[in-house]
């Protein structure tokens, strides 16, 4: 993502809504979790190498708006620790057949409550679920 979003204005195919998203994502403070990255080059980004669950537990106790989470590996780590409060699952009308499974490595039940859903013109259905813990 670092290779695309900061340079999206150079992409003639980028629509207004893509640019809006890119600008928001570039601007928002970010944390990247990685044991192998040496430094985070992206604007407004802090690199955290270890103890990501403890980092998030600390951040959740600080005042502020929500914390957006992206990426399968990080999501799985937080699912295993039951740290995710809301799941916005954009269900795509496609069978991939291969790739990385979102819920791999989660070996306990995570009870959720569906509180809203949206259907997009593309056929994507968004399930908005909250943790029922």
């Amino acid at each position: 993502m670092e290779s695309y979003w900061p340079h999206v204005h150079d992409d003639p195919a980028a629509t207004r809504s893509i640019l809006d998203f890119a600008d928001k994502f570039n601007a928002i403070p970010k944390i990247v979790f990685s044991r192998t990255l040496q430094k985070a080059e992206w604007n407004n980004t802090r690199l955290v190498k270890d103890n990501m669950a403890e980092e998030v537990i600390t951040l959740k106790q600080q005042p502020g708006k929500n914390i957006s989470l992206g990426g399968i590996s990080v999501a799985q780590e937080f699912m295993r620790r039951d740290l995710i409060d809301e799941y916005w699952l954009a269900i795509q009308p496609v069978v991939c057949g291969k790739g990385r499974r979102l819920f791999d490595g989660v070996s306990h039940m995570i009870r959720l409550k569906l509180i809203d859903r949206k259907t997009f013109k593309s056929g994507v259905v968004v399930l908005h679920c909250v943790s029922a813990r």
Binding site: K24, N66, R100
Partner: protein, 52 residues
């Protein structure tokens, strides 16, 4: 007190067979606007190296 804590929210594309690879996603304006709206509710984004 607990209800006032900021929430950790996961927003991700998922295929019908449970894969979460963003490269297979429909990525039209409506979906970008949806993700933009979620970012508006947040003041921090966290992710891993692969996403990065």
């Amino acid at each position: 007190m607990f209800s006032e804590m900021r929430k950790l929210i996961l927003a991700i594309n998922v295929s019908l067979d449970g894969f979460g690879d963003h490269t297979v996603a429909v990525a039209d304006d409506e979906l970008h606007e949806f993700y933009s709206g979620l970012l508006d509710t947040s003041d921090l984004a966290v992710f891993g190296r692969v996403t990065y």
